[in-house]
């Protein structure tokens, strides 16, 4: 049974994703790290599906679908952002201040 090690791997990948989100300034790379986090969560679900049945696979299914939708919309936002500022550097995007 690979449950334990799978969960551990998921933990590592998730933390790496978090690190990436914190470290990078490029919006698209940050987005990719978020996708990495989602993948780690998917791994957890699949690992636990061995114990708890098909609902694990169903969750993974839905996560992937939503991730795809989210990727599309998010990238569209980044495009719009780029057109406005000619840059996707997160340092420069601070109009939410105050």
């Amino acid at each position: 049974m690979l449950l334990g090690p799978s969960l551990g791997l998921s933990a590592i990948l998730f933390s790496l994703g978090v690190a990436g989100v914190l470290l990078r300034r490029n919006a698209i790379v940050v987005f990719m790290c978020i996708e990495l986090m989602l993948n780690a969560v998917n791994l957890t679900f699949v690992a636990l599906a061995q114990l708890y049945g098909a609902s694990g696979y169903i969750m993974v299914f839905f996560v992937m679908t939503v991730a795809a939708a989210e990727a599309a919309v998010g990238l569209a936002i980044i495009l719009a952002m780029f057109r406005h500022r000619q840059s996707v550097d997160l340092q420069n995007i601070n109009l939410l201040r105050g």
């Binding site: 978090v18 914190l22 997160l90 340092q91 601070n94 109009l95 939410l96 201040r97 105050g98």
Partner: protein
């Protein structure tokens, strides 16, 4: 229900007078006719009630005081104080004096204040004063008495500063109130101690429990009585809190007569008489009372020798006579002190009102010729007996009374006090000193009164050519009360004729149920027979000597009008400047307090601490916190993510535990 239950009416009537006159003062200040009716009218009504109460008590003298409850006032924890009046022999006497002399002075004021624009306001204040004075003498417990105590202080302030547009008058009012306040502090501390010692503040309960609960001569009872006496020195103008009374002459003369001669200043004597048991149980305090009384009597008499303002002389005379009263009650002769209180009310009120009559005439004269000379300076008077014969005659009568000439009332009361002091010297030798001081003060009293009469009424007139023809006697509304007071000064001695002239000490026996608990603890043995006669003779001789010396000294050398008179020098200057006591107080107390107020309290506390630290500091802290909070909202996504993750970590930790 006995008539005494209506005693509250004596308070309610002047209170109604205050409200009506006050309303008139605010709405229709020129309704002088109505005010003249209401003002003295309510007083005469109150006097009628007092007479009724007295007659009822006369027919059936009670052994226990009658308590007339008005309103349940305080009920806090174990302390229960009712607003109630106490009717007994002592309060009946005070009631008669206050309402009787008060009525006469109200009638006098109708004439005296006739042209004053503040007529209605004057009568409203005067009525209010009577209300508070009656509460003071009728109160059945310390707090109720204190209401009256404070109230008369307030009315004193209002009336002294009646013509407040002149700053000096307002300052005099403030001085009186503030010095009274210092005394009030003593009263309050004493009240606290009494509450702690006895658990009650009613007079009857305190006097009953005192001999049982406290050790005679012990620390507690001495402390209580000394603090009470501090209140008395403030209210009754004894050393060290007497300096307000001469300044209080800035008020209208009838006010000086009523408040600063007959009634308010006697509140201290009344207090000691009322709490006679406590003072009898504390021989040290009684000695202090008598000593300060004697010292004040002598001290004030010396100052009076060299004053030129007629009212000032009378003011210092009042301080001196109050000293006599305290000498009396300090010795343990409570009835004698009260007796002198009554007779002093008669002749001092007469003297003040008489001087009011003189000032009224002088003022008229100077006003008509637009002269700026001082209407109250005796150096501008002289020979007025030709112009104001009635005033002269009655004031002469009062002078003889105050110097203790028999058969006028002053002789009996003063003699009894001096006899008591002499008798007390038997077991407490220091009282012989007090007796000597009292005799010396009597000599000086006669001297300065003779000087006053000589400067004002005898000799040649110094008022001025034009004014002389305008001097005239006061109208009957003013001279009438003078006559009544003159009669009382003459026959007032009958109230308490001593044994050696064949009398039966009526007042003393009348007041016995009230004074007896204290007197029992005192064991004062009054002199009898030949000693009594001898002491009386000494008093008369001293009085005659003083009068003769006074007249001869004053009339012997020529006096110049005030603006031509040379300045005083040497001892005369010191006396005229009242031993510079006011300057001493100013330097010792007033300036340091002002300095502390300005430097420490204003600059230090208010500006630095309250403004700087508390108010501005709070603002700065808020701004700082706001700045910190603002940094969180930087608009940087990175920062938001960090905060978000930190929060998520925390939640996770909580869940995993």
């Amino acid at each position: 229900m006995s008539f005494s239950h209506w005693v509250w009416l004596a308070v309610a009537l002047p209170l109604g007078g205050f409200l009506v006159n006050g309303a008139l003062a605010l709405r229709r200040p020129d309704a002088k006719g109505l005010v003249s009716l209401v003002g003295p009218g309510v007083l005469l009504g109150a006097f009628g009630v007092s007479v009724g109460v007295f007659r009822e008590l006369l027919g059936n003298p009670p052994h226990e005081p009658l308590i007339v409850p008005i309103w349940p006032w305080l009920s806090v924890g174990q302390l229960s104080v009712d607003l109630a009046f106490q009717v007994d022999q002592l309060s009946a006497v005070m009631l008669l004096v206050v309402t009787g002399v008060g009525s006469l002075i109200h009638l006098f004021s109708v004439g005296y204040m006739r042209e004053d624009p503040g007529y209605a306001r004057y009568f409203s204040y005067l009525n209010l004063f009577i209300v508070f004075m009656l509460v003071l003498v009728l109160g059945s417990s310390f707090p109720v008495m204190f209401i009256g105590w404070e109230g008369v202080g307030l009315c004193s302030y209002l009336l002294i500063g009646f013509w407040f547009s002149d700053k000096a008058n307002a300052d005099a009012g403030k001085k009186a109130f503030i010095m009274n306040r210092i005394g009030d502090f003593g009263f309050l501390v004493a009240m606290y101690f009494i509450w702690r010692a006895f658990g009650t503040l009613n007079f009857t309960d305190v006097m009953a429990r005192a001999p049982l609960t406290l050790a005679p001569g012990g620390v507690i009872v001495t402390a209580i009585t000394l603090f009470l006496f501090l209140g008395c020195t403030g209210k009754s103008a004894q050393i060290p809190l007497y300096t307000w009374l001469p300044d209080a002459m800035a008020g209208p003369t009838p006010v000086s007569a009523l408040i600063h001669a007959a009634t308010m200043v006697t509140a201290g004597v009344y207090l000691v008489a009322r709490t006679n048991v406590l003072f009898a149980m504390a021989p040290l305090s009684s000695t202090v009372v008598a000593g300060i009384g004697a010292l004040t009597a002598l001290f004030a008499a010396t100052i009076g020798l060299r004053q030129y303002d007629i009212k000032r002389v009378l003011a210092y005379s009042t301080v001196s006579q109050l000293g006599y009263m305290f000498l009396g009650v300090g010795t343990g002769a409570y009835a004698a002190g009260v007796f002198h209180l009554v007779t002093h009310a008669f002749f001092k009120a007469l003297l003040f009102l008489g001087s009011g009559s003189v000032i009224h005439a002088m003022h008229h004269a100077f006003h008509s010729t637009h002269s700026h000379d001082d209407a109250q300076d005796m150096r501008n008077m002289g020979g007025l007996r030709r112009h104001l014969p009635w005033t002269f005659g009655l004031m002469m009568l009062a002078t003889l009374a105050i110097t203790g000439m028999p058969p006028l009332s002053g002789f009996y009361s003063k003699d009894e006090i001096l006899a008591a002091a002499f008798a007390r010297g038997g077991d407490t030798p220091i009282f012989y000193l007090f007796y000597a001081m009292g005799v010396a003060a009597a000599l000086l009293t006669a001297f300065y009164m003779a000087r006053l009469m000589a400067l004002t009424f005898l000799g040649e007139n110094r008022t001025g050519e034009q004014e002389r023809g305008l001097l005239h006697e006061a109208p009957w509304i003013m001279t009438g009360p003078l006559v009544v007071l003159g009669v009382l000064s003459l026959v007032g001695g009958a109230l308490n004729l001593p044994h050696f002239v064949g009398g039966n000490a009526a007042m003393e026996r009348w007041l016995e149920p009230v004074m007896e608990p204290g007197m029992r603890l005192n064991h004062l043995v009054m002199p009898e027979g030949s000693t009594d006669l001898l002491l009386g003779g000494v008093a008369v001789a001293i009085g005659v000597l003083g009068l003769v010396l006074g007249f001869r000294a004053t009339l012997g050398r020529p006096t110049l009008p005030a603006r031509q008179a040379p300045a005083d020098t040497g001892l005369a200057l010191v006396l005229n400047r009242k031993y510079y006591v006011d300057e001493l107080y100013d330097g010792l107390f007033v300036r340091p307090v002002e300095w502390i107020s300005r430097m420490v309290l204003w600059k230090g506390v208010d500006q630095t601490i309250v403004d700087g630290v508390a108010v501005n500091g709070a603002a700065r802290v808020s701004r700082g916190l706001g700045w910190l909070g603002g940094r969180l909202q930087s608009g940087q996504v990175g920062v938001y993510v960090v905060v978000f993750l930190v929060g998520a970590l925390w939640v996770l930790r909580a869940v995993l535990r």
